[in-house]
């Protein structure tokens, strides 16, 4: 409701633009969130006003939303952690990845011995991280993952982004990824899921892949691992080089990401902020 009141105060220009698209005042919050997307934030260059100082909350523009929808990932300008959270809020419901934890995770390269069990650092330490989706251990993994280089941090390690649609898979191979069943561990109770599920969330095909919490449920299912790994070897991922104030939005239901190569002695300066977002308003 607070949002709806804010909407009413956005000003004549915003309302006019909204009314062009929506003839009536939105009755439901869901619709309202769609309307929000029309309240485009200007880029800092064009407005000359730092986003964090403005009244408006940072949101994706329609153009950006379309690009995210089309390519499965998006690079954005986010000069503060608050901006990252606001962007996350405009996409859905940000949530902590651990009970009682912060909405923002700080991802720091960690030696194996010091890493928490179950994390990728526990298995790989400073090494590259293989392609994966985040929160694969959850029945419904986060819809979006937002990453941002933390203030004062720097990184020579890129993040590699690979939309599922960019993989060269035949229909038969996609069928196998949908059919083969995997055991997913890491939550309260293990459960079964294919890599590509069209029955977990109605109306969506959901990509789930993390070899540290998933294993084929039967020998027959091993072929789906081979299919995906072989396709990833041939893939041409996007390399995101981290710069200050830069954020990356990943559609986690259809895009894989990985930690790229980099010099080990610079690891300690690489701090990424991460926000996980549940789908829906």
């Amino acid at each position: 409701m607070r949002e709806r009141v804010r909407f009413a105060l956005e000003g004549a220009q915003g309302l006019e633009r909204c009314s062009q698209q929506f003839r009536t005042f939105p009755a439901k919050m869901q619709e309202f969130n769609e309307v929000n997307l029309l309240l485009v934030h200007a880029s800092p260059e064009s407005s000359g006003v730092p986003i964090s100082d403005r009244d408006e909350r940072l949101r994706l523009s329609i153009h950006e939303r379309e690009r995210l929808s089309r390519q499965g990932w998006l690079e954005l300008y986010a000069p503060s952690s608050r901006d990252l959270i606001e962007l996350a809020q405009s996409l859905g419901r940000p949530h902590a990845t651990r009970a009682g934890g912060s909405i923002i995770d700080r991802l720091v390269p960690t030696e194996r011995q010091q890493a928490r069990p179950g994390t990728m650092s526990y298995h790989l330490g400073f090494e590259e991280f293989p392609f994966h989706t985040d929160g694969a251990y959850l029945r419904i993994p986060p819809r979006f993952i937002l990453l941002r280089l933390a203030d004062g941090a720097d990184s020579l390690r890129p993040t590699l982004v690979c939309p599922f649609s960019s993989l060269s898979l035949s229909n038969g191979e996609s069928e196998t990824l949908t059919r083969d069943v995997w055991v997913v561990r890491g939550s309260r109770r293990p459960f079964l899921s294919p890599i590509l599920s069209d029955s977990t969330v109605h109306g969506h095909t959901l990509l789930r892949f993390d070899l540290f919490c998933m294993k084929p449920a039967s020998r027959r299912s091993e072929q789906s691992a081979q299919i995906l790994e072989s396709a990833l070897k041939k893939a041409n991922p996007v390399e995101v080089i981290w710069t200050p104030n830069q954020a990356l939005v990943l559609d986690n239901w259809r895009t894989l990401h990985a930690r790229g190569e980099g010099p080990l002695d610079r690891n300690e300066g690489r701090i990424l902020e991460r926000v996980s977002v549940r789908s829906g308003g």
Binding site: F191, L192, T200, A217, R220
Partner: protein
Amino acid sequence: MDGWTYDVLWQKAKLYMDRALSEDRDGPLFPFWAALALELLARATLAKVHPALLAEPDCILMAFGYDTGEKMAKSVMAKTVFLRCQKIVPDFGDTELKTSMSIVERRNEELHSGTLAFEEFPTRVWLSSFYRICKLLLTAQGQSLASFLGREEADAAETMIAASEKETLASVQKAIAVKKSEFEKLESSEQKRKHSIAETSSREFEDPSKRLETCPACGGRGAITGERVRAGAARLEGDSMYQDIAFLPTKFRCYSCDLELAGHAFLHAAGLGGQYSVTESYDPVQYYGEMFMENMAADAEAMYQNE
């Protein structure tokens, strides 16, 4: 109650089928895992409609996600599952129910007795029927044999189903040819007399699902009977209530040449397999009176259970 959601049941049915398919086809574990997969597939079919269809009456709230304090969610028995599938899944008739239950009973025998129930259970006895039933359940869920078995096994399953249908067709064609030949050997006057008797007998035969049909062997009058699939809404026309009841044809009898076909697959092969409707008429007082009495009986039962 996560265990009753469609997705988890569907994934587990696939896993159990994978386990079956990785076993020796002539060994006991292939049908054992397949039997478990069949039940999960049937449960998934109900869950696709709503998980409450899997809940024992005192666990209904759990199916809607309410914590009732019960530790274990009690699921309905396999027989109830398949009986419900019979109402929900198109073309899932008595034959399919009997076949499914015979597989489930064998599984029970294996698990609850000292008998080796799957030791002498060759694939020729059950596998094509099993795949045909799976296909019906899968279609009702919007899935396919390929999404259940994988492409290669699904192709083999389709071939087996087609062969079984071909076998059924051949046996039906033979039965029709025999009756036709017998009938054609009769004098013309005798043929006419039999046709005439058939007209009367078929009219006099009473069954709520009766539908008159022309015999594919002799051209005389026969009757189809079937299993009730669903009832349409009752409507008032003039002084009477009418209701269309849909039936799946499962039996045909010709009153002229005595051709008899039993089982939907056989009627389908004879070109008599389409579902049909019979309009029932009621006196409004009788219709609402019966409903009233049924409601009273249900209320009385509920009150009894509440005490």
